[in-house]
């Protein structure tokens, strides 16, 4: 890449939008935004052909800043809105930017059923373990025992592993990385965009101002260091003992397989009726 990364990003931002953005200093959302844009730039996607859909939450504010066909929908419903767009215009590149609460709590049903259909939508989950926009309530991915404004004594809920959830529901591309591993994240996002079928990239992210502060995770820089130190490539992670695994999480591509894609299957159904002998029946 000859270009200075910032200049690439500026090409895709909506300059008439009243910046600055709503994200806190140290938030990972900006890193993910930059990564998504660089992936799109390198894949040379036509921006008229890109639909970026989001639900509600900090991460879901992303579409307003970028110059694509953008839809900031309702809490949890981004994937269902995206399904409508993709179904109607299958040639469009449809992506969903969502958070952990948006995608797996209120939107969990849409998440698993889109995965089951294997509809060609890329879901990028900015997974920061917390409901940031509403001020720090625990989410389905908040680690058990961690504090949030609604778990002042420590969270007693068990957590969702978003990748396992996606795999179980039938997603055909599932990867995890972190906001620290921005280069790797770009690679996975590119693979997810290029994958024909339902793809999920779970990006472990930092919310230093709320989650970090409530759980004494230190500075934004320290949280980045934790991402580096606590995550391991899948192969290395698998070699750990069960005890060691408790303090680490795996990064990498868990699933990448080809299965019939939903809009293509529907197109085949429509083709059935385009044969002349079938008409007028």
């Amino acid at each position: 890449m000859a270009q200075i990364p910032q200049k690439v990003i500026h090409k895709y931002l909506r300059h008439e939008k009243k910046f600055p953005h709503v994200w806190c200093p140290g938030c990972s959302n900006g890193i993910v935004l930059g990564t998504v844009i660089r992936a799109i730039e390198d894949l040379k996607y036509e921006r008229d052909n890109i639909a970026m859909v989001s639900g509600i939450g900090c991460s879901s504010r992303m579409p307003v800043y970028v110059d694509f066909n953008t839809l900031h929908s309702l809490h949890g419903r981004a994937i269902a809105y995206a399904t409508g767009i993709k179904m109607y215009k299958p040639h469009m590149k449809v992506m969903v930017i969502t958070g952990d609460g948006d995608s797996t709590a209120i939107g969990g049903n849409h998440f698993i059923h889109a995965a089951r259909r294997n509809i060609d939508i890329t879901v990028i989950v900015i997974n920061n373990y917390i409901y940031g926009m509403t001020g720090g309530q625990f989410s389905p991915t908040t680690p058990t025992g961690d504090k949030a404004t609604t778990s002042p004594y420590g969270n007693i809920d068990s957590t969702f592993d978003i990748c396992k959830l996606a795999i179980g529901a039938g997603a055909t591309f599932v990867a995890r990385t972190t906001a620290y591993h921005a280069i790797e994240a770009k690679k996975y996002i590119e693979k997810a965009f290029e994958h024909k079928g339902f793809s999920v990239v779970d990006i472990i992210s930092a919310c230093p101002v709320i989650y970090g502060r409530l759980n004494k995770k230190g500075t934004p820089a320290q949280m980045m260091i934790d991402m580096r130190d606590n995550s391991l490539p899948i192969a290395q992670y698998e070699k750990l003992s069960e005890e060691e695994k408790k303090f680490k999480y795996p990064r990498g591509i868990f699933v990448q397989e080809n299965k019939p894609e939903y809009t293509e299957k529907y197109a085949e159904l429509v083709k059935m009726f385009q044969k002349p002998e079938e008409q007028g029946k």
Binding site: S73, G84, I85
Partner: protein, 396 residues
């Protein structure tokens, strides 16, 4: 006698067929050009989804059965933004689930049609029995304050005609239009002659012709409605359920929010004449009247015929457009009535509205002892002509 604007659509003779109400809605949608349907099974609306699942693929249209009603309304909004003529169909419980999405479609001004074949409620209620208890939910169901366009036919043919009209109004006014039906109407079969397709008026949304960089999809104008581009066609616009400026970007500025909210209100309220349809039956010399909609108006009309034969000067006023409520027509036709029976399958949703409109004028003429009599049924059965006739005899 029957003052029904949409009857002009029927002209050239087509074949007479026996058709079900829900089937007429599905065929009306196809005639209007529906090319996207997302839905979730629910009695008594399911036939609409079943028919469209069979017919849409034949035309290259899209049908998808979603995981729930929330997903269904979401998918049709997404598809509409991509350019689809989109629709979903449901009944009470599903209609409740769709309310947040309906509010989004109104706020973001995304054309779509939601059919609610009303059944008994609240809650699971009476899945296979009729009611008219979502009259108010259709108006006030979503949170936040904005007007609604809601239509309610009373026959199989009219189910067809008003479905087309629902699409036309959704596209014209860039909003979510609700078409009400009820279990009896939805499952009833009648002999119908569908209008000649070529004579049916179809309205499509206005698309922008200006360059994308000048495009403001929420710009105020004398009609209060701006053209709507489709995703993927060069206009990379932003859509949000947040209060937004004329380019669709979130705003907290009171002046911008006020402009938006006033426009959303005015685009309906300044077009009442275009939106409101009523049928007045035997009202010319009537001194008493029945006010009813949908299936209840069938009993009302029969009751008028029975009472007329007995020499009673009774008429019927029926709203085809439930919302916006036909205030002017109610004042015009019902102002001089000695008695008005409001017949409905709920606990007084239409009569409450009628009283709102009549309140002022009727208080003024209180000394004349005029009255509104409520005939309500809430048990899964429909109001019969006899019940109305008997009530007239009681209250005379």
């Amino acid at each position: 006698m029957a003052k029904n604007k949409i009857k002009e659509t029927s002209s050239k003779k087509q074949e007479m067929v026996l058709m079900q109400g829900n089937e007429a809605i599905a065929l009306g949608a196809l005639a209007a050009g529906v090319d996207f349907f997302a839905g979730y099974p629910i009695t008594p609306s399911t036939e609409i989804a079943e028919i469209l699942s069979e017919e849409l693929p034949k035309k290259g249209g899209k049908f998808i059965q979603m995981e729930d009603e929330i997903a269904s309304i979401s998918a049709i909004i997404g598809a509409s933004l991509a350019g689809a003529k989109a629709m979903t169909a449901t009944s009470g419980p599903g209609f409740s689930l769709m309310q947040e999405g309906i509010g989004f479609a109104k706020m973001a001004e995304v054309p779509c049609v939601v059919v609610n074949v009303m059944r008994g409620g609240p809650s699971t209620g009476l899945p296979t029995s009729p009611s008219q208890s979502d009259i108010m939910q259709a108006r006030w169901g979503n949170h936040g304050d904005t007007p609604a366009i809601v239509l309610y036919p009373n026959s199989v043919l009219e189910s067809y005609e008003l479905t087309i009209r629902a699409f036309n109004l959704a596209e014209k006014y860039r909003t979510c239009v609700v078409l009400l039906s009820d279990e009896v109407l939805g499952h009833m079969r009648e002999a119908v002659v569908l209008p000649d397709l070529e004579k049916v008026k179809i309205i499509n949304r206005i698309k922008p012709t200006i360059p994308p960089e000048w495009y403001k999809h929420y710009k105020n104008n004398p009609k209060y409605i701006s053209p709507l581009a489709s995703y993927g066609e060069g206009y990379r616009f932003h859509v949000t359920g947040l209060a937004h400026d004329e380019r669709g970007f979130p705003t907290n500025r009171a002046d911008e929010i006020e402009t938006l909210m006033e426009r959303l209100k005015n685009k309906i309220l300044h077009h009442i004449d275009d939106l409101v349809q009523i049928e007045s039956y035997m009202m010319e010399d009537a001194t008493r009247a029945i006010f009813a909609a949908g299936i209840s108006s069938r009993a009302a009309k029969e009751a008028v015929n029975i009472l007329r034969k007995a020499g009673r000067r009774v008429g019927m006023l029926r709203p085809l457009t439930i919302w916006p409520f036909p205030d002017d027509a109610v004042r015009k036709y019902l102002f001089d009535m000695k008695t008005i029976i409001v017949a409905e399958l709920n606990q007084g949703q239409l009569s409450r509205e009628l009283k709102r409109v009549m309140g002022g004028v009727w208080n003024y003429s209180k000394q004349k002892k005029r009255k509104i009599v409520e005939l309500q049924k809430n048990n899964g059965e429909i109001i019969t002509p006899e019940e109305i006739v008997n009530l007239f005899r009681e209250v005379r």
